[in-house]
Amino acid sequence: MGTSALLLTLFIPLVGSLALLFINSDEKKALKITALVVSILTFIAALGMLPNFDRSTAAMQFSISQQWIPALDAGFRIGIDGTSLLLLLLTTFMMPIAILASWGPINKHEKLYYSLLLLLQFGMTGVFIALDTFLFYVFWELILIPMYFIIGVWGGKDKIYAAIKFFLYTLVGSLLMLVAIIWLGFFAQGLGAGFTTDLMKLKLIGPQIPLEYQIWLFLAFALSFMIKVPLFPLHTWLPDAHVQAPTAGSVILAAVLLKLGTYGLIRFNLELFPQSSAELAGPISILAVIGIVYGALVAMVQTDIKKLVAYSSVSHLGFVVLGIFSLTVEGVQGAVIQMVNHGLSTGMLFLCVGVLYDRRHTREISEYGGITKVMPHFAVLFAIAMFASVGLPGLNGFIGEYLTLVGAFTSPFLNSWAYAIVASTGVIFAACYLLWMFQRVMFGANDNPANHHLRDLNKIEYWQLVPIVIFIVWIGVQPRVFMDLSEKSVRAVVESVENVKGFSRTK
């Protein structure tokens, strides 16, 4: 039951993507509705995994291990643990919203657009469930193609530059990861296990790799993931991609695509290379902290709302990386929940920016002011998204940031309070730039004539924003419900690192 739900979650988007190609491209309504129905069906399929999911184990569940290319031992091996389940739910939940957000703004080549969007979902789902390095790599690269087109065809003014930059940045990292994947397979062969890309086997082999090689493998994997996250100083593709992408593209990019990187860090770097993770936790955390502060400071001086939100992502993802490399249960748990939170709140912020942009076709903060008066309902929802992103207690953002900071504070690997202290300034800066932006856009006098007659949210926009608000509040009030899902798997990862390093549990 759970296994078939997993397979459906993976393959419904692919089938939908292909099915769209058979619809006449002039039937725009049919295209939109088909895409939406497909994505909702996928979400239902993903929910179908919940009843059968066993929270009390860290083992991979709903696993399938099918031969694919026996000569290279590459297999169709999939399965999920709590971390991947949470991210799968996030992906499948955000997809219908992203599709709804495209109904209005996307008005050329609709067929190709929705087809690519669903193909993108197929790739992202695959990344979250692959338990085979080869399969993982295939999905990882598969994502590039649809995203490249989404930015390049439907993007803004500098779309070409942004699309190519996105593609090449990601490709550089991932190809080095490919070399590492092959190297790892041969290392397994050297130990008599045969060339393999089976993650479950490699997990046992990884810790046996001598540190001087392991570090390089760790870096090859990490580079690929850190570009995707993106971690300072590899973040420069992100603002370009975000600003040029259409709203739905930004939403997917922020909500899911960036999480592929942080997910990869947990799934591959921590699990495969525990010694190197412990060894390099310090330097990476320093980069994460720099990213937190730098992202926040740069966000503060932006005049373009979308760019501001994009830089806030750099800052927020810094918390996630810091949490992961605190290598404590609290930190990693916080990172996992922060991934979901960031997906929801930043995704929603991008939707709100999209709402404004559709009406005014500008994202300059100075063009706005006093919007609350003409769009009161929008103001409420925008405020919720903004406060969630700031990390207001009671909304989802708080719990994630709190836990990652606790993790960084108590981490025996980082062994210094400085990380947490400097990082927490990021929270304060976040309040500054988001509240200030909100104030300039929404409050004050509505003295720009172009803004005098903006209509408030329409039905489609409500349907995009309200479901997210439900989860923002739900996670904020009852985080346990969600964190229980990933608790065991996180604990297992952290313990594997601690065992190697010889730290005992502090609690």
Binding site: L72, E141, L142, I145, F149, I164, L175, V179
Partner: protein
């Protein structure tokens, strides 16, 4: 006399079809291109079929001059299929350019016969005959547009440089013969293994010269200069054919020659550097081809430089040698054939009067004018760049795998870096097709028979990308 008639059937059939029947048809039935076209497509199909049937029949024939079965037969099939795909694409192309003559098909099939001989060669003499037959056919095919100055120039250039490189090849063969007393691969291999080389120094020079000669045929650095000019000037379908089948043929010769000259386990101080030399050639070829391709504004030249780079990738398999290296080369040669063929055929469909619509600029907004062709072209570009799930990715995976397995991790990294570089210009074309607005007049392209080529190529790229095992199983069972 040891003549294995059954095993040699593919070779015998294509030779008879060409030399006996084909000539008669052309002598008595003038100006009937349709008949000749159909006849030669049939010939290639029958030959391919026979090659499949006799694949399991291994051994030597004609006094050890040729080998039978196994890889040679696999290459037979590949050459015949490529030949057929080229013919399908060529007919509408030649008709449009008003140069459809019977001789085109005859020359094409005679080059296929030459390639098959190269793949089947077990003696340097056989190899030489095969190479010459293929190359001479290529020279004429390149200059097939007699009234077009570029085509003629390309043919002349190709001929002169090709003749020059043949000199290296023959000189190398002579020196190898002088120091091992044999022209037969298996005998040479035994002599090298037994340490019975007469003049080791001359042997090394001979092997190097042979390498030079073969490097010219695959257009590897530093013997690649002819490729862009020739591919640009030649009729586009011919470029498609030469850059795929021609390259695959050169590799089909490269593999057994190197296996014979450098058998694994041979102890020879001077020769131990040869793999490293080839590795360096491979690395430079990959980088140079891809970097130069970035600067091209002509699509044919861009594809020509990219074909140089792909030769570099395939050389990785030569460096590492062994079964794994062979598998990787053969796999890559196969998928590369489909990718490159597909891309060139689309270029051929779009170009006008042999000169126009070859600029990258002309592809702006192609997506609006020709959505299907643009989508296929985008797919071929992604495949050439090595993005999964297309077959090009798996080919590279295999090659990088062999490199890392045999300790050439740096070569794999160079390959990876040059792949990133290549992504830039492959994407550049996609950018023009999809992200830029169309300019110029609307475009009509009637694929006709070339549609078959495109369908086969694109299906192969997707299927071999998702199920690479199919091809690997064939390698291992043949």
């Amino acid at each position: 006399m040891n003549i294995d008639i059954f095993g040699s059937l593919p070779l015998i059939v294509i030779w008879l079809a060409l030399g006996a029947v084909g000539i008669v048809i052309q002598a008595f039935v003038r100006e009937n291109t349709r008949l000749v076209f159909g006849y030669y497509v049939g010939t290639l199909a029958v030959t391919a079929l026979l090659a499949i049937v006799t694949a399991g029949h291994k051994g030597y024939a004609f006094e050890g001059m040729i080998t039978l079965g196994g890889y040679a037969n696999y290459f037979d099939v590949l050459f015949c299929v490529t030949g057929m795909l080229t013919m399908f694409a060529a007919r509408p192309y030649l008709q449009r350019e008003n140069v459809e003559l019977d001789e085109f098909y005859t020359l094409l099939v005679s080059s296929v016969a030459g390639m098959m001989l190269m793949a089947h060669a077990n003696s340097l003499i056989t190899l030489f005959i095969g190479i010459e037959l293929m190359s001479l056919s290529f020279y004429v095919l390149t200059g097939f547009m007699r009234t077009n100055i570029r085509s003629v120039e390309a043919a002349l250039k190709y001929f002169l440089l090709g003749a020059f490189s043949t000199g290296f090849l023959v000189y190398g063969m002579a020196l190898v013969y002088g120091s091992t007393n044999s022209l037969q691969y298996d005998v040479i291999s035994k002599v090298v293994l037994g340490g019975g080389v007469f003049f080791p120094a001359l042997f090394v020079v001979g092997v190097t010269l042979l390498t030079v000669g073969l490097s010219f045929k695959i257009a590897a650095f530093p013997f690649h200069q002819w490729a862009p000019d020739v591919y640009e000037g030649a009729p586009t379908v011919v470029s498609a054919y030469m850059s795929t089948a021609g390259k695959a043929a050169a590799f089909s010769a490269f593999i057994p020659v190197f296996a014979a000259l450098m058998p694994s386990g041979a102890v020879n101080g001077a020769l131990s550097n040869l793999p490293l030399m080839v590795a360096i050639i491979a690395a430079i070829t990959m980088l140079l081809g891809n970097i130069t391709a970035i600067a091209q504004s002509n699509v044919k030249r861009m594809l020509a430089y990219s074909s140089i780079a792909h030769a570099g990738y395939m050389l990785i398999g030569i460096v590492t040698g062994g079964i794994a290296g062979q598998d990787a080369i053969v796999y890559y040669a196969t998928v590369y054939t489909f990718m490159q063929m597909g891309a060139f055929v689309i270029v051929g469909l779009l170009e006008r009067n042999n000169e126009h619509f070859l600029d990258m600029k002309d592809y702006a907004g192609l997506h609006h004018k020709q959505p299907v062709l643009a989508a296929l072209m985008a797919m071929f570009m992604f495949a050439l760049a090595g993005i999964p799930p297309f077959a090009g990715f798996f080919g590279k995976y295999l090659l990088f795998m062999t490199a890392i397995e045999s300790g050439y991790t740096w070569l794999a990294i160079v390959g990876v870096v040059s792949s990133v570089i290549s992504a830039y210009f492959y994407l550049g074309l996609i950018v023009r097709m999809y992200f830029q607005d169309p300019s110029g007049e609307p475009l009509t392209a009637r694929p006709g028979l070339a549609g078959i080529t495109l369908i086969v190529s694109s299906a192969a790229i997707i299927l071999l990308g998702v199920f690479p095992q199919v091809l690997l199983n064939i390698f291992h069972s043949w």
